[in-house]
Structure formats: structure tokens, C-alpha cells
Symmetry: C2
Subunit: 341 residues, 2 copies
């Protein structure tokens, strides 16, 4: 599977300097604290809870969202300790979402390992997700910032709304790019946005700075999801910890598919209808899907869209004076986009 | 099915005066506000959300939990408007739990109607539950009381923990009465307790009054659940909106079963093992289960336990001076217990 994906090469699009390292260096001390809190709050006398929670917690996610919270708080000159607990709460909200997502998508693989729902069943995944969400709110309450609570509780409702939106649009090849953007704005970008916005919120920074980091997070989140969508048809399975073709096999309608469907002819549309709407996937269908992506330059177009949102994210930071947090956040955008290459 | 259940008759246990009417009268103006907020906050552009939410919201639950919040706030002399929104949030937390419960229990019936998960699938039930929980937290944040937020976010985590505990104990006939009490303390009584405690909390009443209402709610919740367990083997299906034997068919190990199993002989224990642990339920098994309940007076004993917790709940109110809210709350306990007769 390693060489199955589309090989994308666009002159000038590659940014070899893009690295997550400046962000990792910036937040490393606080992230040690975040990781301690995560371990501490995944504890319960009910053995199934830490077992299942650790399966995901230890599975090597990048923890990008809590890093955004720490970096945004630093950019905002925050000097307290609340950002560490808020960052842990953000990661718990994300973990809870992953647990419920896997149930909804009937996914058997997550981050290259068997998914929790496959190992412990849907029931445990639903309930441990609920527990982690409850713990997340407890941590936020402990921090005591009503504005951070408002931002994150809004995000919780919007994320769920986005997931329902996606469920309602599932299998519908008529989904437009606009509709898809509304879905990923809610289900993915809302948490990136909230994660970044709580930084200036707990530092009591003015509204324009909160708006700037909200916009940074939202656009980064959209770009991140679009790159993820592209990688599902073009990536390197071993490196990503996910298989090329997962979205295809699960019948997910993502931007590369939407573009390919619209740019295709009637025969090609019949193919997408049969496989993604109809769920009738046969040997060779994934390879054919990838060849259609290649024909219509759907991956390149998706990455082009991602760069557009990434540019908005970077420009949103421009109101802040030059600083280490600002450049680390800007380079994180470049990194998220460059991982497609 | 109407006459299938155990007929329980214990001299002096029946309390014909016990009525929910004083509580209903006390809170009727505020509950109109609660109901308006519930309708308002179940709204979404994503059609599936209000459709599914209304299926449960309109299904005629008693709304006992939000009534406790309103009455406890009145008992605490609260004069603001926050209790109405907190009460709506409590009902949303409860509704979210029901949606997830039905998924976990694979229930096809809820309040005498087809369950949401049967009509719209597990996926939608999980996600709309998440949405309602998010909305609940939004409402709590709007009220702005950190102490109420602390109480309710604790409850959210504890409820989920209790559900996982129940899942871990499922099919285990070795579950003790103590273990079962720990489960229902978490999964049922924690929300009753939090619903009552937020009343004095938003009224900034002293710790002993908060503790009193917390204890009232917790013990009422335990009594309520035990009566529910008894009714599942002894109730009147048409009146309850649930079928006698639902718990039996779902293999749930409740207090009547725990008592019957412990009081039974080896042949009887084999029967419980086959049906509830093994899931091998044949024609006539429910009738046999009920006859064993009768032989060992398991329903009477369960109701006796319920009366014990009900008495603790009533006595917890004794530190408050006599008032309409106090007697309405006390009579609600008597009502919850009397509904078994």
C-alpha cells in the first residue's frame, strides 16, 4: 500500500523549512504538565475507563490542539497556570470526539491500531467518551474562567452539530463544496478555533486579539482537515498510521471526492454513486478512484484549497507583533500543509 | 401483560395521600419557562437534531429532575432567574443520558414508544446526545454560577462512570447489593443530587443547606431507581409506558434479581445464570422469574430498601423550617415510593 497513493508535485508548493519544531520547543515545558494532567484525569476505579482511555492517549497523537492553547496563551502574555488545564481539557474533548466518531463511522482502525470500539465495543466507547467529556468540563470549571468555559462549551455543541450534519449528508453525492466546508468548520475547525481562542480569553486580551486567534484556529482547522482528506487518497500508510483508502472504504464524502465527482463524466459519476452512495466496493475500486483523482487533479485542487485557508490563518496572526509564539504558530500552519508532500 | 406482575400488598406501606401535586403546583410557573427554554435550545438547522430531540422531549417524561432544581431554589429563597435555565440544563443532561443509554442497552422501547436509536439509528442517538450535553453546558455557562457548573460537571463525569461500572458488571450474577448501590448512586442518584444541590448553590446558601439538598437528592434518586427496578417485575405496563420484563429481557442485573439470586437454591441460581448471564431466554422464563420473585419476596424487600432511602431523603429536609417548598419536596419522596402500589 505504501506506493498506492497519488504522487503530487506542484512546483513551489513545497516548503521544506516548514516544521512543527518551533511550536514543540515553545510549549514543551507546559506540555509536560498537560500530559501529567491527562494521565491524572483518566484515572477511575472502574478499570475499563483508564484502560480504554490510555489506548487512545498513549497512541501517539500529535496533541496539536492543546499545543495551540499553550502557544496562544503565550502569545497573549498569559502568566498564570490555567492554560495548562484548559489545554488538557481540549485534548480530552478531542479524545471523546474520536471515541464517538469511531462508533459512528464503524471504524476498526485509529492511528494505526485497532480502534477502541473494535477492542472494547461500541458501548464502552460511547460511555468512556462521555466520561472524558465530563472530566474536560470539570477541568475547565477548575480553571474558573467563564469566558473560556463559554468558548469551549460552544465548541462542544457545534462539534456535535457538525457530526450530525455529516451523518445527514452521508452517502449523498450531491453534497456541495460549501456544504462540506460547513461540516468541517463545525466538526473539526470549531475545536482548533476554541483551542486557540481560550489563550487570549484567559489572559483577558481585547476582543480583536481573541477574534484573531479564533480565526487563526478556524482556518488552520479547515486546512488541516482538507490535507487529511487529500492524504487519505495520496498518503503513505506507514507514515500516517492510517491506510490509504480508509475514507473510501467507509463511504465518506470528502472534498477530493466532491471535486472528482463534479469534474467527472456520467460513467465516472455512476462509479462514485455505486461505491460511496451504494456501498458496493469491489476489488480494484480504490485504484480506480485514485486514477480518477489523478485525472481530475482532485488532490492538487484540495491541497490548493488547504493552502488558501492556511494563508488566512497565517494572516490572522499579523496583528500581533513579531515574537517566538507568533512565528511558531505561523510555521505550524506551513507544517500542516507541508505534511501532504 | 397488564396482570402479569407480582401483586405487592404490605399493610401500612401504602400512602394514598402521597401526591406529586404540591410539587407540580409549586413549580408550575417556572416549569413553563423551563419548557420554553427546552424547545428553544433543541433547535438546529440540522433537521435531524430537533426531530430526534423532540421525540424524547415530547414523550411525556415527568421532568422530575428540573422540578427538583426549581423547588430547591425556592426552598433556598432564590430570587433570580438562573434556576430556570439550570433546570433546563439538568433535563438536557438527562435526555442526553437516555439517548446514550438506549444505545448501550440496545433498547427498542423508551417511555412506551420506539426508542430514538431504533427509529434513527445508534449513530444519530450518540451524536444528538452529545449535542444536547453541549447545549446543557452552554446554558449553565450562561447562568454564570461557577458553583453550579462545578456541581453539574461533576455529575456528568460521575454519571458516565456509573454507566461504565454497570457495563462492567453486566451479566455478572456475583454483583453484590453494595456494588449495585454504588452503580445506581452514580448513574441515577448523582443527577438527582446535583439537580437539588444547584438550588442552594445559586442562592449562595451555606454549606450545610447545600449538603442537605445534595443528600435529599441522592437518597431520593436511589429510592426512585429501586422502585423502578421493582416495577419492572411488578408493574402495570399500560400505566408505566414500559413493559414488565424489559430489564429481564435486556439481561439487567437489578436489586430484585440480586436478592432473588442470593435467597435462591442452586436450581434457581442456574436459572438466573442461564437467562441473565447467558442471555438464553425462553418462553415462560419471565413468568418463572416473577414466581421466584414472589417466593423470595424480592419485590417487597426492594421496596423496603427504597423506603429506607426515602426516609433518609425526607429527614435530610428537616434542617429547613416548615414551608411549602419543603413539604412539596417531602411529599415527592412519598409519591416516588407510592407509585409502586
Amino acid at each position: 500500500m505504501r506506493t498506492l497513493g497519488v504522487v503530487v508535485s506542484i512546483d513551489g508548493a513545497r516548503d521544506p523549512a516548514a516544521s512543527l519544531q518551533p511550536l514543540l520547543d515553545l510549549v514543551s515545558a507546559e506540555m509536560a504538565g498537560v500530559n501529567r494532567i491527562i494521565l491524572d484525569k483518566a484515572v477511575s476505579d472502574i478499570e475499563l475507563i483508564p484502560t480504554l482511555a490510555h489506548h487512545l492517549i498513549d497512541s501517539g497523537g500529535k496533541r496539536l490542539r492543546p499545543m495551540l492553547t499553550i502557544a496562544a496563551a503565550k502569545l497573549s502574555g498569559y502568566t498564570g497556570q490555567g492554560h495548562v488545564r484548559l489545554a488538557a481539557a481540549v485534548e480530552f474533548m478531542h479524545t471523546a470526539t474520536l471515541l464517538h466518531d469511531d462508533v459512528v463511522d464503524e471504524s476498526d482502525v485509529r492511528r494505526g491500531k485497532a480502534s477502541a470500539r473494535r477492542l472494547w465495543g461500541n458501548q464502552a466507547s460511547v460511555l468512556v467518551g462521555d466520561f472524558l467529556l465530563g472530566q474536560a468540563f470539570r477541568m475547565m470549571v477548575d480553571v474558573g474562567s467563564l469566558s473560556a468555559l463559554r468558548i469551549l462549551s460552544n465548541a462542544a455543541a457545534v462539534i456535535a452539530e457538525g457530526e450530525v450534519m455529516q451523518l445527514s449528508a452521508a452517502k449523498n453525492m450531491g453534497t456541495t463544496e460549501d456544504e462540506y466546508l460547513a461540516i468541517i468548520n463545525a466538526k473539526t475547525a470549531a475545536l482548533f478555533s476554541a483551542a486557540a481562542e481560550v489563550g487570549p480569553a484567559i489572559a483577558s486580551r481585547p476582543a480583536d486579539e481573541q477574534a484573531a486567534l479564533r480565526s487563526y484556529g478556524r482556518n488552520l482547522g479547515v486546512a488541516f482537515q482538507l490535507v487529511d482528506d487529500a492524504l487519505d487518497y495520496a498518503g503513505d500508510s506507514a507514515r500516517l498510521g492510517k491506510s490509504v483508502g480508509d475514507d473510501f472504504r467507509e463511504g465518506k464524502i470528502t472534498l477530493p471526492v466532491i471535486l472528482c465527482y463534479r469534474r467527472g463524466n456520467d460513467t465516472e459519476r455512476d462509479f462514485w454513486q455505486r461505491t460511496l452512495s451504494g456501498g458496493d466496493i469491489r476489488d480494484g475500486d480504490l485504484e480506480h478512484a485514485i486514477s480518477l483523482m489523478r485525472r481530475h487533479k482532485a488532490i492538487e485542487a484540495t491541497l490548493e484549497r488547504a493552502r488558501h485557508y492556511g494563508a488566512i490563518a497565517s494572516d490572522a496572526l499579523a496583528i500581533f507583533p513579531e515574537s517566538a509564539p507568533r512565528s511558531a504558530l505561523a510555521e505550524a500552519v506551513a507544517f500542516c500543509i507541508a505534511r501532504a508532500h
